[in-house]
């Protein structure tokens, strides 16, 4: 059982993390290649505070707050750049994060932090915590989609100039997306540190950023159920692929590539087109 518990906990954390990126990239259209930095900020904040004697649950809001604040700062910087420039700037953020953290002795430097005090929950309880939080985050994301904020995000994602013409304060919305997305990443980070009991700078680097973006795009960018599925699947894939041993990453890379090549909308895209085909079968001529 412990194996499944551990896997499910990791999945829950990945789901929160992926949804948080989806908020920024999927909803608001601001591509980010450096999201792992915020996972890291959350993880380090929570771990340091736990070690300082704070109970784990008290560190959660602090981790979110700190990640969110740094997120706003990064957001402010990224207001100046667009599209691919933004992508590369955010990529820079993650390299800076790793570059700075690894030099900080008080953050454990290259060694990272281990022996993080427990949360008081047993492994099963912690799994339910992770899954529960993941569900909450998912509900929150769906709510955003339905609210006016979701509409504005969509507009900003498609054409921010026109949104300005409609009287929308685009920078503030972008910042709001960054703040919410990075705070949630901070939450995921706190859980991450607690789950793995060890964190180091390399755990929050470019690779991790790319991995989470893959989860989002693989599931179907912008689609909450799709992203949940993508995150759950891709986070477990390497473990399930143990049996192909040497070919594990080869297959992983291949799967990513083939998915994009044949269903650019990700899993959500496949589901959507299946549903469409079915409804078209029932009532010919139906469109949209």
């Amino acid at each position: 059982m412990a194996y499944e518990i551990s896997l499910l906990t990791a999945m829950g954390i990945s789901v929160i993390f992926a949804l948080s990126l989806n908020l920024i990239t999927g909803f608001c259209g601001q591509i980010s290649l450096g999201h792992a930095a915020f996972l890291g900020i959350g993880a380090y904040t929570s771990a340091m505070l736990c070690k300082a004697g704070l109970p784990f649950f008290a560190t959660l809001p602090v981790a979110m707050l700190l990640a969110g604040i740094v997120g706003i700062v990064v957001g402010l910087a990224s207001l100046r750049v667009r599209d691919d420039f933004l992508a590369i700037t955010t990529m820079g953020v993650v390299f800076l994060f790793v570059g700075i953290v690894r030099q900080q002795e008080w953050l454990g430097g290259e060694m990272g932090i281990s022996g993080i005090p427990g949360s008081g929950l047993d492994r099963l309880g912690f799994m339910w915590l992770a899954l529960g939080l993941a569900a909450l985050v998912a509900v929150f994301c769906i709510y955003i989609q339905k609210s006016w904020m979701g509409r504005v995000f969509n507009g900003v994602a498609e054409d921010e100039d026109t949104m300005r013409v409609l009287g929308v304060d685009v920078p503030r919305y972008k910042l709001a997306a960054f703040a919410m997305g990075t705070a949630l990443a901070g939450l995921a980070g706190a859980l991450y540190g607690q789950h793995f009991k060890y964190i180091g700078p390399e755990s929050f680097g470019f690779i991790e950023s790319i991995t989470v973006l893959s989860m989002v795009v693989f599931g179907g960018i912008g689609s909450v159920p799709g992203v949940i599925f993508g995150a759950a699947l891709l986070s477990a894939l390497p473990a399930w692929f143990q049996f192909i041993g040497d070919y594990k990453l080869l297959v992983y890379g291949g799967v990513l590539f083939l998915m994009m090549r044949f269903s650019p909308g990700g899993v959500a895209g496949i589901v959507r087109s299946l549903l469409q085909r079915r409804s078209a079968g029932h009532q010919p001529g139906a469109s949209s």
Partner: protein, 264 residues
Amino acid sequence: MSQTSDSALLRVSGVTVQFGGLKAVDDVSFEVYPGELLGLIGPNGAGKTTLMRAITGVVTANTGSIHLGDQELTHLPIHQRIRKGLAFSQQLVKPFRQISVLDNVALAAGAAHTRSPLKSLLHTDSAHEREVAREMLARVGISRHADQMPGIQPLGVLKRLEVARALAQNPKLLLLDEPLAGLNSKEAATLADTIAEINRQGVTIILIEHNLGEVMRICQRLVVLDNGRRIASGAPREVMQQPQVRAAYLGTDAPAESTEAHSA
């Protein structure tokens, strides 16, 4: 009407816009009074669109100032100018392609909800805005297309969508950049009537248009630009009689009347 510059709704004074070495707008001043329908005309490349963009903040004026009522707009970002009561439809139409024609207009109508991120997060209902949107679509005559996607609409529909979207923002001053382009004469006349009607209902309008027939028909006053400079202004007929306007705009040989009669 006693039209002093104090009572002006929009006051543009000494605005210059420069792109590199090119002065697209060169020291232009004019006023728009409440309730007016002002035609802004001039040759291609005269700087009309640029002037409109300077008013709305899409480009920043190098010099000069812009006032709406007693508020200075000159250094405000676009969205704040819009919130103070400007709305505009652009020469190149840019609808949101992912949402229906109706939702495009509804999004514009929801300005009250989208004022701040927090407000927008707390509102989900859009029935009222969709109602407004339907009304606007009906007003410009494209109700039929309400539930279709904008991506497949022909130009004429998109042009009117753009006007409807601007109207939905419930502006004090509406700037229209060539709304009639791409419409045939009947459609153009209808939309021009709509514009005049909107104006009668109290919305002040600046209309940029090359369809002189309609311009002469519905505008109360004209401002003419050429090479970035204001070369004339006044009542439409008088302005069109001025030789420098005729030379710049109509070609020296064309009698003004023929051009008017032509589309009227």
